[in-house]
Point group: C2
DNA sequence: GTTTCTGCAAAGGTTTTGCAACAAA
DNA sequence: TTTGTTGCAAAACCTTTGCAGAAAC
């Protein structure tokens, strides 16, 4: 895992007079093990594979902590739950494309998007802050062939 | 109110074998009375000023109906509830800028944004669908003067 | 008359919180 | 020791749903 993660967390804990606990360590371990987005429930499952005693309440409290020190960002993937994105440390300006057919989420960075963002924001009389562009789209694959392997995969996973 | 609203609703009702009721009429009246965004609770309040007997369940069911015929769109304003935007009939491609200081929401249309959207989507191998760009920003006003009249207004309203 | 719609109340799902025991500093 | 943290269970919150009566067609 990227050493900047623990460093930034540690700095935040010290600055706020908070404590390092084994639960927080384990949750961070689970959250940043892959670059996948996750919701609270998924993080609870991942975390319990490392330590079965972690409670759901601690998951929610730690998620808030990680958002506070900007290690995680809440992202709206157009579903009903809050999802968290662990990749802003590496790609601070990235955006999301979401497929309406198969729910795939593709991250992308784009210089023009960033420029345009700034430009629009200033024109409206604001100061640019976090950038967040979300594109909704449809699979080429599904439109062409009537099938999308991701959708099929996802549905297979739901069965299991 | 724009006559296209009732026309589109009527067409949808007929096409789907649904019925026109006085509740639906009143809710539409309230929803499109201004161009403000609203959540379910706010719509219930607005509606009850016209007819105190409308139930919360009917609000939710009618919101779904209006989304189905594309008179309303759900928008994510970065808060915990679902908000609805009644302005897509007039500005089908508009986007939102949200102020992190005062929660103001500014709508904007931008040709370059639309083009860039299409371009990025195709490059990633998808087909453009709904466009939705959300910019988060901070008030010039607050940064310059330490005060923002909208924030003050909002807080005054909370008190009352 | 038939079918849809409404209001009510209860249930659903996610997230937050009060509290007593526990653990870090 | 002091203060922050945890797990549990209950609560809070928004939204959906089953049902019997009412309304639209």
């Amino acid at each position: 895992m990227d050493s900047r993660i623990k460093e930034r967390l540690e700095a935040h804990l010290v600055a706020q007079g908070l404590r390092r606990t084994k639960q927080r360590d384990v949750i961070v371990e689970a959250a940043f093990a892959t670059d996948d987005h996750f919701n609270a429930d998924e993080l609870l499952e991942k975390t319990r594979k490392l330590d079965r005693t972690i409670s759901r309440a601690t998951i929610y409290r730690t998620l808030q902590l990680l958002v506070d020190c900007d290690l995680l960002r809440e992202v709206d993937l157009g579903r009903d739950q809050t999802f968290y994105d662990p990749n802003f440390l590496d790609k601070p300006q990235h955006n999301h494309l979401i497929c309406l057919d198969c729910d795939r989420v593709v991250e992308f960075e784009d210089e023009n998007a960033a420029l345009l963002h700034d430009c629009i924001t200033r024109r409206l009389g604001f100061q640019p802050q976090m950038k967040s562009m979300r594109i909704q789209a449809k699979c080429d694959e599904l439109s062409r062939t009537g099938q999308c392997k991701w959708k099929a995969q996802r549905e297979a996973a739901m069965q299991a």
